[in-house]
Symmetry: none
């Protein structure tokens, strides 16, 4: 029972693209690769070389003589196209489409030069159109596979928010640093125009608040202020 | 004035990947490609061959000797990584990140084998993590670029306004402050254990990157360093 969508490359021309497609499938947790009449026969050494850690996907790829045979066990078939065709089929963006990629779904990708023919599209329930710039709409085959696999992986995996606030310093620690810095600056006459001090000091503190400092970073900054306020060795007296 | 994000390939190894990245940038309407020390020099014939209709992006790519120079005119920097690093920076998924890609944003991609180093990550405001399958998390470089460019193109017409990046300082201004601070700290022996300096200096810079400083704030901080390094009036001699 097929639980992830099948990626079907229809009449692919270059072994390198088959290998790169297999690699990126593996990157995004897909493994069911099917090939319909690859131009240079099968197996293909260039495909294996390009697959890198996706080699197992290439090794297990299944070969078919026609699109119809390749999709035989599937219950829903998408076809990817670069350009709109005059076909009365629903057309979805990748993100919408992958949300419908359940078990027994196949996604067809056409050959490098020409893309899928209308005869291939006939078998598709819906079209996936990857939006591209009109000035250069021709995606590399493996890049098109990349976009679809990425979107599939993305929606099966719920996003984990991270970058938490658990190691932020306390406001007390921050205040300790502010007192230290203020004292050091006062001593050196930094706030020389008294009535300007409140605003200057506000801006300076804001900048450190914005940095969302950790405890360690506060200690580091205190070390910096301490170091900077030490008298430089007076070389003239040597 | 840069209106689309810059794609920065840091120490890319294979010309084919540079070309494939350029092609997919062009597919998704991006054109500002920057290269930091490509392994095989520049220009690179394989990059041109792989770029197909993205050839103009390769031809206009700019070459830099360091990440700092490549991002000098940028106000916000993302770094892509495959694996989580021990870096206290916000980590976003591609879709969340591109919603914050305004003018003068750069996105860093590391070399094929090793990815970005911590030294490269220091300069980044945030990390973009492309979710991948744990069993094979290593995305091809051009596929990683594909995912980001695809997401950018997808949302470019619906960019959410946020606490605008237009007031952020440029990386060049930030670097000027770093140089100033580093000089002042060096002079006072702050980095007294030489082998600890790289990490200390990384942490210190990270903290200021995190603050998302404005131009005015950078000037303020330079004033602070200047003030702190002035010799305190010696009251004993009065």
């Amino acid at each position: 029972m097929q639980t992830t969508p099948a990626i079907i490359l229809v009449r692919p021309q270059m072994g390198e693209n088959i290998g790169a497609a297999a690699r990126v499938m593996s990157n995004f947790g897909l493994s069911d690769l099917r090939l319909v009449s690859p131009r240079d026969g099968w197996p293909n050494e260039k495909a294996i070389a390009m697959a890198a850690h996706g080699e197992a996907v290439v090794q297990q790829a299944r070969l078919f003589a026609s699109v119809a045979e390749a999709v035989a066990d599937c219950r829903y078939v998408f076809a990817t196209t670069a350009t709109r065709r005059d076909m009365p089929k629903p057309t979805l963006r990748p993100r919408e489409a992958v949300a419908q990629c359940h078990a027994n779904t196949a996604i067809l990708f056409g050959p490098e030069r020409a893309g899928l023919e209308n005869e291939d599209l006939v078998l598709a329930d819906a079209i996936i159109e990857i939006p591209t710039d009109a000035a250069n709409s021709s995606l590399n085959l493996a890049q098109a596979v990349c976009v679809i696999c990425y979107e599939w992986y993305n929606q099966k995996d719920s996003v984990q928010p991270h970058g938490g606030s658990q190691d932020l310093c306390t406001r007390e620690e921050l205040q300790g640093f502010f007192d230290h810095l203020e004292g050091a600056l006062e001593m050196r006459g930094y706030f020389r125009v008294a009535h300007k001090k409140p605003l200057m000091w506000q801006h300076l503190r804001s900048l450190f608040v914005k940095a969302r400092l950790s405890e360690q970073e506060v200690r580091t900054l205190r070390g910096v202020v301490k170091a900077l306020t030490m008298q430089a060795p007076d070389h003239r007296s040597e």
